[in-house]
């Protein structure tokens, strides 16, 4: 899927370049492609969380940091449907891109620490983190293309620095807890991205799908 996404985005770029001379690629197709990518991204993060929770110390759930501690929590996102439907397309795209951008560094940290994670499903988790990274990268490229089509407001990306340490912990419990926490933040953010893109897709779509 990552390969497909990479090829897809490359193809997208080529097609866009070629077609922009003649006619524009329908936005709906681009958005359709992008929402498929975001769907895949979120699905991956969900399975990752399930793998991790298969053998998670109960104490960890108690002392897990609250989701408000996610480094992306400062970004204002709609909290219900009405709010979400009132946001403009460019803003929605900008939000999506910002969120995605905010995770490029933390994913590296996650990937690095997945190699030394003390967990029975460590290898599976490590592989999935790698996939996550690739997907994230290709989706980012696709969204960059999209943003070029949707106006200047779409181009703005809010910066959400990742203040978390490069090292997620020394002992097993803290390792697992921090890993789980980061993953939960990512899971939520990937769901947001997916939702925004799907709303965008329906807005641009002329088919009966929406």
């Amino acid at each position: 899927m990552a390969l497909r996404k990479t090829d897809g985005s490359k193809l997208l770029m080529t097609v866009v370049c070629l077609v922009s001379a003649c006619s524009s690629v329908p936005l709906s197709d681009l958005l359709d492609r992008a929402s498929q990518g975001s769907d895949k991204l979120h699905a991956l993060s969900t399975t990752l969380s399930q793998d991790l929770n298969s053998d998670f110390p109960p104490i960890g759930r108690l002392i897990m940091p609250r989701p408000a501690m996610c480094h992306t929590s400062s970004l204002q996102t709609p909290s219900d449907k009405e709010q979400a439907l009132q946001v403009s397309e460019s803003d929605l795209l900008s939000l999506a891109r910002s969120l995605l951008q905010a995770w490029s560094d933390p994913l590296l940290v996650l990937s690095a620490s997945a190699n030394t994670l003390q967990h029975p499903a460590q290898s599976s988790i490590s592989n999935k983190i790698q996939e996550l990274q690739q997907h994230s990268k290709s989706l980012g490229d696709g969204l960059d293309v999209l943003s070029g089509k949707m106006g200047p407001a779409a181009q703005t990306i809010s910066s959400l620095p990742f203040s978390g340490a490069n090292d997620i912990g020394q002992d097993r419990i803290s390792q697992l807890i921090n890993f789980n926490f980061l993953l939960s933040c990512f899971r939520r953010d990937s769901h947001k991205i997916d939702s925004f893109l799907k709303v965008l897709r329906c807005r641009a779509s002329q088919t009966e799908m929406c």
């Binding site: 769907d39 969900t46 408000a68 219900d80 449907k81 769901h191 947001k192 807005r203 009966e208 929406c210």
Partner: protein, 616 residues
Amino acid sequence: MMKNVMEVLFLLMLLFTVHAKEKSYNPPEKPALTRCRSPEKETFTCWWEPGSDGGLPTTYALYYRKENSETVYECPDYHTAGENSCFFNKNDTSIWVNYNISVVAANALGRAFSDPVDIDVVYIVKPNPPEKLKVAVMEDKGWPFLRVSWEPPHKADTRSGWITLIYELRVRLEEEDDWEMHLAGQQKMFNIFSLRSGGKYLVEVRCKPDHGFWSEWSSTSYINVPDYFPREKSMWILVAAFSAFIFLILTWLLHMNTHRLKHCILPPVPGPKIKGFDKQLLKNGKSDEFFSALVVPNFPEASPSKYEDMLVVEFFEVKEQELMLEESNDLLDGGLKYESSRSDSDSGRGSCDSHTLLLDKCREAKEERQTNRDGSLIEKQIRQKDRKEEAISPDISSGRVKTWPSLYSPLPQYGSNPLDKQSSLEMAKQHSLSISSFLTQPGTKDALGLSYMDFCLSNKQNHVHPQTQVQTRSNVNISNIGHKHAPAGLHSPTTQYVEVQRVNKEDMVLLQPVLSRCGLIEDCPHLPKGEDYSKVKGVDYDNRLLLQREGTGEDMCSGMDQETNGERGNCYTTSTVSIMQKPTACIYTVMPIQEGMALTLNGYVDTANMGNLPSC
């Protein structure tokens, strides 16, 4: 008045405590939140399971706290979703926000807190089933199919893209149990082409958000599909093709096994099993000779004084064509051929040669015997013999005689010494085999143009090793030769008639001239009384039996052992009696008799020697 109130209260309390003492009241048990669900990502409901109420009226309260604030709120709606539930409407629902929810059970004696649950509304979406399911039968080039269409649940907002649903439907015939599943993706219409037959079909559909739970199945929709399927015709075509194929295979198998089947269904007509029966004579048309050939000289039954060394020799037959057949290099093939040709038509064979026939006869004779063991022995021998024939063949350089030495009839017991019997049996057996080996010699092969050679050896022995059998080429050849040429009808003036007196211990057949019965046959010359050809020197290449004249009785030439061309012993015959090439009218049955046993007990052999026939 206060007093009254106090009394009433006291009474009430008493009642209460009494009551309480009777049924022990407890604080409520801890309730548990079972699940929370959101049908459209805009509202959600949580259900809990109450524990024991402790016997007292218990109230339940749900409290929640949102992620970013410390404010604890109570459930806004306990009723909309039914018993033990809490419904959060749109205003109270925030997405991408963690709710920390817990339920508290309270009664007069205490409170119980459930374990808190953290939920995010976007992860608990389970939509309602799709609605307005419609099924119609359509036709595509004579082939019917079902067109199914439906609507998303009315609460789910798919139009704005807020919620993305994928659908799945299932269909089955009314009488079936298994559903056929079809994933329809995001479309709201689907064609089912996989109809196998007509009848009543049931269709149901359900949906699932992109990251959520499957809904329940919608209400069933029924549809009647008319029964116009030409498929049955094609099935008959298939059946016909398949049976034709099977038929072809059967025919081919039949063709391959015609040979075997022919033998099975139409067994070959067995030839006559009369001793002395010669096809050639019959073909020649000389009935006189033919009938005279059937004459078998009687053996003097009473004459042998010593029975111990007597062997009863039975017939075995050599067939020319079989010789040709068996000249194969491959031993096994030969053995196989041997086996197979054994099952060929046995026309023209001697009685003993027909292993089916003789076995019966042998069995009859066996019954007269005292022990059954011998019979089984013989059967064993028969079988062993069969096998050993194949083993013998490598020793025979050219061709192979098809011998049927397995046809051993049981020997009647005459109270003889069993050991002697056995040894002589062995000898006899060896003799018989040597016959076969002799007969396979090239020189003799051509001479074996006659129909058969009747030489049966009966014995009771156990195992004869092939090697020993092969090696012993003894003088039993005599009898073969004698018989071979007998039916030809020619006679030589020098022919003398001898009969076997006995076989002594040195493996020699003692012959004595037939004096008494010679007169019965026309061409039977009279032997001078003084001459006594009691010893067979051997058989030369002309298939002539070489007899030695010697004194009566005991001077035996020891030449009966090895070479097929006759071992030259101490004695020499002054004249050779050639019996083979000039067949006489008499048939010699050279049969070493064991124990002076009358031939009566030996199958066919005996009948030939019965007094009915004229003998030499």
